[in-house]
């Protein structure tokens, strides 16, 4: 079965996948014989032979879906928040109209109930708090002095946050930084003749390195450039409003 899942990925590489579903096999498979490894071709043949041309169509249909399920499952594993479980909790809580969770005791999360293998499961705690805050946003609660809330995020150690904040993107950023670093070193070397070792002693190169690292961190997606531009505009906007009164003066004097 797992092989059947792997095999459909192969057809996606071939330009028109619809050809497979048509069942006009012989002409289409010939190029595979010459290009692809024999083994994979065998699976393809095996699948289509087993279920007939009708199933070949469903296999072709299934080819696009695999990536999305992967992404979804990755996300839900990453945040541990499985929606089906959350839904009944929410409904139950809404009925009572205060936030209720067995682990929420006396205005904070009961850490004992989060222990797993002798240590606290911070990930689960963060998930629980995410759910609580979302619930609070949707159902704003009166603050009361009788049941004060004491939980703040500083209880959770920094490494638990690092994992959440960093890991999903770290791979990408590291790879990108390494590539940029390598090519910058290469170009600087080829243009100036300064070798890699000498570059590390050079102020200019250190600045370049700093710029590269900052750039990689700040600009992760294309939209980030726009975002940064917008932020800059926003911050200077207030200055402009203040300076407006001084603007007329300069032309008047001139």
């Amino acid at each position: 079965m797992s092989m059947a899942i792997f095999s459909p990925k192969l057809p996606t590489l071939a330009p028109p996948s619809s050809h497979f579903s048509n069942g006009k096999t012989h002409l289409n498979f010939k190029p595979y014989l010459s290009l692809g490894p024999a083994k994979k071709l065998n699976f393809q043949l095996f699948v289509s032979a087993d279920n007939g041309s009708g199933v070949a169509a469903t296999v072709a249909d299934e080819t696009p879906p695999p990536p999305p399920p992967d992404v979804i499952s990755d996300e839900s594993v990453g945040s541990n928040g499985s929606p089906p479980q959350a839904a009944p909790e929410e409904v139950a809580a809404e009925a009572v109209n205060t936030f209720q969770d067995a682990r929420w005791v006396g205005g904070t999360w009961d850490l004992k109930q989060f222990s797993k293998n002798g240590s606290t499961d911070w990930d689960a705690l963060i998930d629980a708090e995410v759910k609580r805050r979302k619930w609070m946003e949707d159902n704003p609660q009166s603050s009361s002095n009788e049941n004060p809330v004491a939980f703040d995020t500083s209880i959770i150690p920094w490494w638990a946050w690092m994992k959440r904040f960093h890991l999903p993107e770290a791979e990408l950023l590291n790879g990108r930084a390494a590539m940029i670093g390598f090519f910058m070193a290469y170009f600087v070397d080829s243009l100036t003749g300064v070798g890699l070792v000498d570059q590390t002693n050079n102020f200019f190169c250190k600045t370049l390195l700093f710029v590269a690292v900052a750039g990689v961190l700040l600009i992760r997606k294309n939209e980030d450039v726009e975002k940064i531009k917008k932020l800059l505009e926003e911050t200077t906007f207030y200055d402009k409003q203040w300076q407006a009164t001084w603007k007329d003066e300069t032309p008047n004097k001139n």
Partner: protein
């Protein structure tokens, strides 16, 4: 009082306007003007709030002939009424004007995390709560005692001068009669809907709107708010500001403000009432009021011989929405500037003098404060994640100390370097943590939406 001020009124326009009708001889014009002016510089202050009264007081004390216009001295605009400690001293405000001395300040986050912000207040430190009508009339009386002429009148129109040295003519209605007064300089202190600003075309500013209900509480509930003020933050009560519960003489003021969605202000007011529900239950709403709050300075604050101060100029801080102190201070600064530039009313002044003596000094002293608070607002009021971080940070004693030093004494406080670094690190830490949670809330929400 009115009859007293009327005498110069009828006298001046005639003597001033006649020479100008024959505009053929310019030098003659100037001579005539100087001859009249040689008496004393005449300044009109429009608006008798803290800004106007402080300006009038400074002017009158400097020996300048001052006219203070106030439309309705009995009424005052709805306002939080919190003033910092340094104002009591600087403006010599007697303690009997203070309704409440707030020593406890609670900030409540969207997830109801509550932090007592007043832990580090020293025994002699407090935030004074005043009623505006009381404070305003006190300051106005003092200006009058110093020699300013108070005119209870509605200013209907301001006629701009024809030449650089001719007077401004103020048309006003007092006791149902139309009058005119000619003055050399005008100080505009007439609030957000400033007539002075309009007549000199000083441009507009964006306004936030603040809505507030005065609620009379049962005694046992009032006791809780005896010296305690509360601030609520969250998308439910305001998308870009905070909501408050401030104690007043015998009631509390519950209100909220917003810039971006003014049409929803009623809904936000409902939300803040919901957030404080158990604490104000059984209270009776005595009055509800709404008023505009300027968001940034006007494009023009000084033009010709007109200077704007207080709300008319747009001096209200972001983030905290504080305006009384800055109004009074700008009024006084402007008054003193005019006294200095005119050498106690002996010389005429121009736009350059006002800009140099008042505007430049003001900007040098306060621009950084305003800018800093604008930045804080951008960082912390942007989203619920930012607000959670704000409340977490406010739990830190050093943060509290620095905030109060800056607020109470109106100087950017100097802390010690190491603590500052620690504060910066913990701010960034809090922001990152709360943003991680915020991001996951968004993702969670999206997933839920996909499901249904």
């Amino acid at each position: 009082m009115a009859s007293h001020t009327l005498t110069p009124v009828h006298h001046h326009p005639q003597s001033l306007t006649q020479p100008f009708k024959s505009k053929t001889f310019k030098p003659q014009n100037l001579n005539c003007k100087n001859a009249i002016i040689s008496s004393k510089l005449r300044v009109a202050v429009i608006g008798g709030g803290p800004a106007g009264s402080s300006a009038a007081e400074a002017l009158a004390a400097g020996g300048i002939e001052t006219f203070l216009f106030e439309r309705s001295p009995e009424a005052a605009k709805p306002c939080g009424g919190a003033i910092p400690l340094c104002m009591l001293e600087e403006f010599a405000i007697p303690s009997h004007l203070i309704d409440r001395k707030v020593t406890q300040m609670k900030i409540i986050s969207p997830s109801n995390l509550t932090v007592d912000f007043g832990k580090t207040l020293k025994p002699h430190e407090f935030i004074s709560m005043v009623r505006r009508e009381v404070l305003d009339s006190f300051l106005r009386d003092r200006a009058e005692n110093r020699g300013a002429n108070l005119i209870k009148a509605l200013v209907t129109n301001i006629q701009l001068p024809v030449t650089e040295k001719s007077p401004y003519k103020i048309h006003y209605i007092s006791n149902n009669t139309q009058n005119t007064l000619s003055v050399d300089v005008i100080v505009g202190a007439d609030g957000a809907n400033s007539k002075v600003a309009k007549s000199i075309k000083a441009g507009d500013y964006t306004c936030a709107i603040a809505f507030q209900e005065r609620i009379k509480l049962p005694d046992h509930k009032m006791k809780y708010y005896e010296n305690l003020a509360e601030m609520y933050v969250g998308n439910d009560v305001s998308p870009d500001f905070y909501a408050w519960v401030f104690p007043k003489c015998d009631h509390v003021a519950v209100g909220t403000g917003t810039i971006s969605s003014k049409q929803n202000i009623k809904q936000f007011q409902g939300a803040i009432r919901n957030r404080v529900k158990p604490k104000i239950e059984g209270g009776k709403i005595m009055k509800s009021e709404a008023h505009p709050i300027p968001e940034h300075p006007r494009p023009i604050r000084v033009l010709g011989r007109v200077a704007l101060v207080g709300d008319a100029a747009g001096y209200v801080t972001k983030c905290s929405g504080e305006g009384i102190y800055f109004a009074a201070k700008s009024g006084r600064m402007c008054g003193e500037a005019i006294v200095r530039a005119s050498e106690n009313g002996e010389k005429t002044i121009g736009e350059g003098d006002l800009k140099r003596e008042y505007l430049k000094k003001w900007d040098n002293e306060y621009f950084c404060t305003f800018k800093f608070l604008d930045m804080l607002q951008r960082i912390f009021y942007r989203s619920n994640a930012g607000r959670e971080a704000l409340v977490e940070l406010c739990g830190d004693e050093y943060v509290q100390r620095m905030t109060f030093e800056s607020y109470l004494y109106k100087k950017l406080a100097h802390g010690n370097g190491w603590e500052d670094v620690k504060m910066a690190v913990s701010s960034i830490g809090s922001l990152i943590r709360c943003n991680v949670v915020g991001r996951e809330i968004d993702e969670f929400r999206k997933r839920m939406e996909l499901q249904f």
